[in-house]
Symmetry: C2
Subunit: 414 residues, 2 copies
């Protein structure tokens, strides 16, 4: 039996992705927030395709779609997500779902494989209502109280209302069944330009970084911008600016080779041109696969805050909002991706960490998990211009299907 | 005739101010945005008081209230404003209106003065719909198109809608009548702590600073906060922070003794914790009474912007949104306030510039104008804790009434 016997149908993969692209199309990308009409349409499209592929489809009480197989033997879970960030790219999510669907179509019907690929679409990976909501629910990390409290971050719509409108109120939420799956596989666009810059085609993910999120608050004295002399001001906005510059000077001396840190949001209170801000806040995050490095950087952050408070005139408070857990990817899944890559993109794969968060990091807490990346043109992500060449999409599909077949024990895929 | 014959009735002044404080009361201050119910109530309260004082009241098509006298002889225009900033102080505005009303009550009935004090309440000095809207309308600086376009900065309510709801749609707008007034007088709380720190009671305003307002835009490259390495980032937020710090280092070397500068608003685009901001904007203002100093500082700002753009990785654009015109206060009005101050607060007045903007700066373009300040406790302004002691309020009223009488030629006020 040749490798080709587990070949993905590249034209079918591209056709499926382009069909999903029409749902919520925005310029060359999509606008498909969680539980929007085009998102629900995409979920229902998937359940139809799953049934055609011989899988039993379910949409659960949080919007996860799962297609299960009644075949005996080992089972792989594979997928990604179908909603998008607002006005974002067409492949971020759907690529991994369609690869998983294609793997199920190519592999499950074969008599020479005893097991099956089961396909999943995790709901709200993009966190319109909560980060990695569906996969967290699946591993048992989302309480009913959290669902009661969740609202769409853009519109403020309650999650309960969105679930009811989608006809999902009252449905059970699927939970991971211990022992059912031998592993979880997810394909995704890289969202960076490392593959493209090195003319590589496949990234085999070694670990998904943890994200440590901080809110840093600066407290000064609100006052009139015209009547308050410069020497008596306690300008919280200026204190924040000084702090950003201090981080930028101190962190490179303590970080790891791939650490990244970002101030993504700043607000001044009250934020009027003629009022000296009495309070300022910044959202700051650090990402690394090594908690020891993060620990060191958090120490630097605390020292900078204490030093700024001691110097005055504003007080600085550093509060950790979220403690990231880096997720290590399973070694045998990495090996399967690498081996499949050597068949379909010889010399063009590389092992690399993921700087972005993915559902695979949640799955990794309950089963062996692995991820692979395909190149992002220009490294662009979370923007409607995000893209990957058709040839790279098809190569990725071949590698993904071959890796699934290999993990299910098909010699031919080796 | 003694000075006392032009004495303000301190109890009446305090009673009026406390009546206005009840309209839109918020903690110990008021929340009285322009054309809110409590603001309209305050305007109608004023028209009743003007009529009682023998003045003919009008509310015009922009919400200015004017009480005119049919007495012959020289006329002074005196007043301030009745709306407040959101959740702000009780005296910022009403103090000057009640002093003017008191001056009209004390002076206009006297046969030994041929002229009269006419009383005005300028609408929306606080700029809910547009800065110094009423006084700018009075000097002919507000077009109908500008009124069509104006919206409440908090609620977004169109000005036309607010005017219609207030019953003012279609009314004419009052315009300054050349030659009608020999001058404009306005009293106000200081909004700073210079008087209090020096145990002074009266500030005689020499000039109102001009406000130069800038929008400074930083353009970088929006990207994913996890997948983009530090060395390839063009983080517009970090560029903004560096710029704020650079201003803070460069301006003290080029500023005047009373120059102030403020970054009151910052926004990052898109402003999400996991996205490197591709664009950032800051609202920056400079205030001084000397345009030459501002010119020098604007040069520094442009140089800093050009240097930052040249260094990269972000481009900096400095755009002047508003060119301030410092307004010099009339020398004879300053002398009248000073002379009245020497009678009622001997040795406790000082000449000083105003760092805040006031309606008097608009009036100064069409007639001689002058202002006086009373102390602000703790220098607090634009906050509901703003306050002035009752004794200082009464002293200020005496000085204001005496200065009006003096300018109208009453020997007794000298």
């Amino acid at each position: 039996m040749s490798t080709n016997s587990f070949a993905a149908d590249g034209a079918r993969v591209l056709a499926d992705l382009n069909t999903l692209r029409q749902m919520g199309a925005y310029k060359t990308g999509v606008h498909k927030p969680t539980f929007s009409e085009p998102h629900l349409q995409s979920l229902h499209w998937l359940t139809d395709r799953l049934a055609e592929a011989g899988l039993a489809p379910t949409i659960d009480g949080i919007g996860n779609v799962l297609g299960t197989s009644n075949k005996s033997g080992p089972k792989l879970l594979a997928g990604s997500h179908l909603e998008s960030q607002n006005y974002a790219g067409w492949l971020d999510g759907p690529l991994g779902v369609v690869y998983a669907l294609e793997a199920a179509r190519v592999i499950n019907a074969r008599d020479n494989i005893s097991g099956a690929v089961e396909v999943v679409s995790w709901c709200d990976k993009e966190g319109h209502f909560g980060p990695l909501l569906g996969s967290r629910s699946y591993i048992g990390d989302v309480s009913n109280a959290a669902i009661d409290a969740a609202r769409d971050r853009t519109s403020g719509r309650p999650l309960r209302e969105a679930l009811a409108a989608a006809g999902l109120a009252g449905r059970e939420r699927l939970r991971a069944e211990p022992g059912r799956h031998i592993g979880y596989l997810e394909a995704h666009i890289e969202q960076g330009d490392r593959l493209e810059r090195a003319a590589l085609k496949i990234g085999v993910v070694t670990a998904i970084v943890g994200i440590w999120q901080y809110e840093i608050t600066f407290t000064g004295q609100q006052n009139h911008a015209g009547t308050t002399a410069m020497d008596v001001r306690a300008d919280a906005g200026l204190a924040l600016a000084r702090f950003c510059v201090a981080i930028d000077e101190a962190f490179p001396k303590a970080c790891g080779p791939r650490t990244v840190w970002t101030t993504g949001h700043i607000s001044l209170d009250p934020g009027a041109p003629s009022i000296i801000p009495g309070m300022a806040k910044m959202q700051f995050q650090i990402r690394d696969t090594d908690p020891a490095i993060i620990g060191r950087l958090e120490g630097v952050l605390d020292e900078l805050g204490a030093a700024a408070t001691a110097t005055g005139p504003c007080a600085v408070a550093v509060k950790r909002l979220r403690t990231g857990k880096p997720a290590l990817m399973d070694e045998s899944i990495q090996a399967a991706f690498e081996s499949a890559g050597s068949s379909h993109a010889a010399g063009k794969s590389i092992r690399m960490p993921s700087g972005a968060g993915h559902d695979a990091q949640m799955l990794a807490t309950v089963m062996p998990a692995g991820m692979m990346f395909v190149p992002s043109i220009g490294g662009i992500s979370h923007h409607w211009t995000e893209n990957t060449s058709d040839a790279d999409i098809v190569t990725g599909a071949q590698v993904f299907v071959a890796a699934c077949a290999k993990l299910l024990g098909a010699e031919a895929a080796r």
